[in-house]
Symmetry: C2
Subunit: 458 residues, 2 copies
């Protein structure tokens, strides 16, 4: 690997120029007036693979195209699928940018531009890694497929569509999925995110009288949907943070001792976390640390409530309807469908006479973990150690990444979330940045990843 | 009283013409472009009293003027104060009126016009009654004072101001207050409303983290203000409709057996009440009938909640703030200040760590009843029996009438709420009406009222 490492080291300037080129294209997927520029970014990415001699395809969709590329098959070696996206968030508010969002500018070793970390910079580390292999070895030690989309920032509607098509599973067939669209745990602590929580999101609509009533004339005579809503929602979790939906914890995958000790060894400071959030105390399920609660225990949060009068001053109204959006974060092995069914039964039992209930299942996704003893995790850890100079930490993430569960639905392969970014990279905010040192470390890690993965017996 | 009755009977047409004149003036208090017309209505009312030889005064305010008038003092007789208003609600939506709102039109014995029942028609019954006394007897059997305002439909800001002035108590000093701005219980059941519930209205604002958070990344780690709000509000009332604020029921004036049997004798049909509201069941405090719960028992209603995401679809937000407006209906003898203090203590104890609480006391008013054995109630009942041909029913009302508590704050006198209107008179709606038969019955009842009241020893 010395030759490869030297190549990567001596091509730093060239790889930075390539990233700058891509960052100059304002590929804002949500804004129809940038359609040409989004297409230009797709073409630019596609051209990278054409130049490497990959089999390439620009897959048209009802929205922005998918860029697909694959290197030559290598028999008896695993196949990897790299996912990333070439679209970016809008740069507003523009006047808060120190340098213009589409004029990449270096300050203090960081490259500032919209998309620098999310996801052009991180995605490109894998492209530059395969390029380094091709330009030094003439080939890759395993087959690597790339699926780079242009609609991640608008919820990946057409990629989801594509993944449901009959031949998607065959075309994308792989042993491992690699995504670099997350972050290091903290500066100098590159991370392998080996688990995500799932979600089950609901909307509850309670309807009482056929119209709003005067709370003086009618208060005390009929069930008030807003009162009922607070009763029903508050019954879903107890004061110790335990969710009360029957059977909710039945399938919960418990935290292993290894995970608990790994989490507790992480440089996580509760005091500065509280300062960051502006709260005087943390809260949640009793018996678990804050990282455990965020990453590996289920939670229940009301996301919004709408009922009655919300304006200035007082209005003596007994509202005829009250609705709430709320969601459970799920951990691996929990079954969203079973939970939805149990929730429905519980709410129907709680619903008072005189109120009708509508429960909408908005969306759900299961949680996932890659087993820590998986050879893919081991390979990624070794690669990151080469790229960053020390071993990664193993973390989980409390959110769900919808595209991950969509891949998992279609493909029977574990996902490696390898984050090169930093949590203060201003993703989705003005002055987005990406550390150039981390860009190069990412390229080197990725180059070593193909070597390490290629050694796994399949 | 025969002479008086005959006079009233033979002047029906003339009294109707007077009402039509007043109804033609679009005295819409909330709309600045009708300022001249509001003043015209004030002048018209004032002129009525000038003609009767009353001592009159047009009291200017920062808004619309107060019309004040008083008949000559009669020693050793009680003094009554009649309150009413000459302003009206806007007539919108105009296209739903069958005849124009300011062109009084008779259909089926009803006079249709904005203000017909609320309150020009009802108020004028008392003016025509004193006129009948003056034109037949040359004098009244007791002193009657009139305070007719022009801002009732906008919350009586300047009357409230006037009532707080140092000499208001002296100028308005009286033994009984008479207001006709309510309704009969139902057609053919004229009512004396002898009690109103009070109110204590609050806004609760809970604040958690300094900004909205992602519910995936942070859910389970910090207290969610929306979750906390449902916990805190649901703790305020139990499933049997009993309010849980400590001491809440300590001073509650119990319903007397006489009241309970009077309520249960009223022609109130639960089935049609449910149909009217569009509910499959009624609800509220266990152990009390629906009318008891509406009129004479406290209640707790959430009037509005605002938190988090309220738009279409799903947003995985952990809101940083949640707020609710809610109110307790109070019954006589409950002390709103004591309840507010107890509520504050309770909520502070319920508020979880990591959340800060702000409780705003929006407004409150005590409930009131006039004792059923009061001689004033007795006098009013006799008068109504003369006017309507049969005795009134005794009812209470679940709402509070703010102006009543403001009068009660200033004047040490019971209030008689004598409603001549009907509940389907379309108050505040298109096609407002007032039964002409009820108008004349009201005039006759009022004329008899001054006679009956004058016989009470003071």
């Amino acid at each position: 690997m010395t030759k490869l490492d030297e190549f990567i080291s001596s091509n730093r300037e060239r790889f930075e120029q390539d990233l700058r080129q891509l960052l100059k294209i304002p590929s804002i997927s949500t804004d129809g007036s940038y359609r040409t520029q989004v297409a230009e970014a797709a073409d630019w990415v596609l051209a990278q693979f054409v130049e490497l001699g990959f089999r390439t395809e620009l897959i048209p969709t009802d929205g922005h195209p998918l860029v697909y590329a694959e290197s030559a098959p290598v028999s008896n070696r695993p196949v990897a699928l790299v996912y990333g996206h070439y679209d970016v968030q809008p740069p507003d508010p523009l006047d808060e940018w120190i340098s213009p969002p589409f004029e990449p500018t270096v300050r203090d070793g960081n490259l500032y531009a919209r998309g620098a970390t999310d996801d052009k910079g991180q995605m490109l580390t894998h492209v530059k890694a395969v390029q380094s292999w091709i330009e030094t070895e003439g080939t890759l030690p395993m087959q690597v497929k790339f699926l780079i989309e242009g609609e991640e920032e608008i919820g990946s509607p057409n990629l989801s569509h594509f993944l449901q098509s009959p031949d998607a599973a065959k075309r994308l067939a792989c042993d491992v999925i690699v995504i670099s669209d997350t972050s290091q745990f903290s500066k100098g602590h590159p991370a392998i995110t080996y688990g995500l929580r799932g979600i089950a999101y609901f909307e509850l609509i309670l309807t009482g009288p056929k119209q709003d009533l005067h709370s003086g004339t009618f208060g005390g005579a009929v069930a008030n949907p807003a009162n009922a809503l607070t009763k029903m929602l508050s019954a879903l979790v107890n004061d110790e943070g335990k969710i009360q939906v029957p059977g909710f914890y039945d399938d919960v995958e418990a935290l292993s001792d290894r995970e608990r000790s790994q989490f507790s060894a992480l440089p996580f400071n509760e005091r500065s976390f509280m300062e960051q959030l502006g709260v005087a105390a943390l809260a949640g399920e009793r018996g678990y640390s804050t990282l455990e609660r965020r990453w590996a225990r289920p939670s229940f949060d009301i996301n919004g409530i709408r009922t009655g009068y919300q304006g200035e001053g007082a209005k003596t109204v007994l509202p005829n309807q009250a609705s709430a959006k709320f969601s459970f974060r799920l951990v691996p092995n929990q079954n969203p469908d079973a939970i939805a069914a149990s929730l429905r039964t519980m709410l129907e039992e709680l619903c008072p006479a005189g109120i009708t209930l509508e429960l909408k299942e908005m969306h759900h996704a299961p949680g996932f973990t890659v087993p820590l003893d998986s050879p893919y995790i081991d390979a990624a850890a070794k690669a990151i150690e080469q790229g960053f100079g020390h071993s990664p930490v193993f973390i989980r993430e409390g959110g769900s990444i919808p595209i991950v569960s969509r891949f998992t639905d279609t493909l029977d392969a574990p996902t490696l979330l390898l984050g090169w970014g930093l949590t203060d990279d201003n993703t989705h905010s003005p002055n987005e940045k990406f550390s150039l040192a981390d860009y190069h470390r990412g390229i080197k890690s990725s180059a070593h990843l193909w070597y390490e993965l290629s050694r796994i017996a399949v």
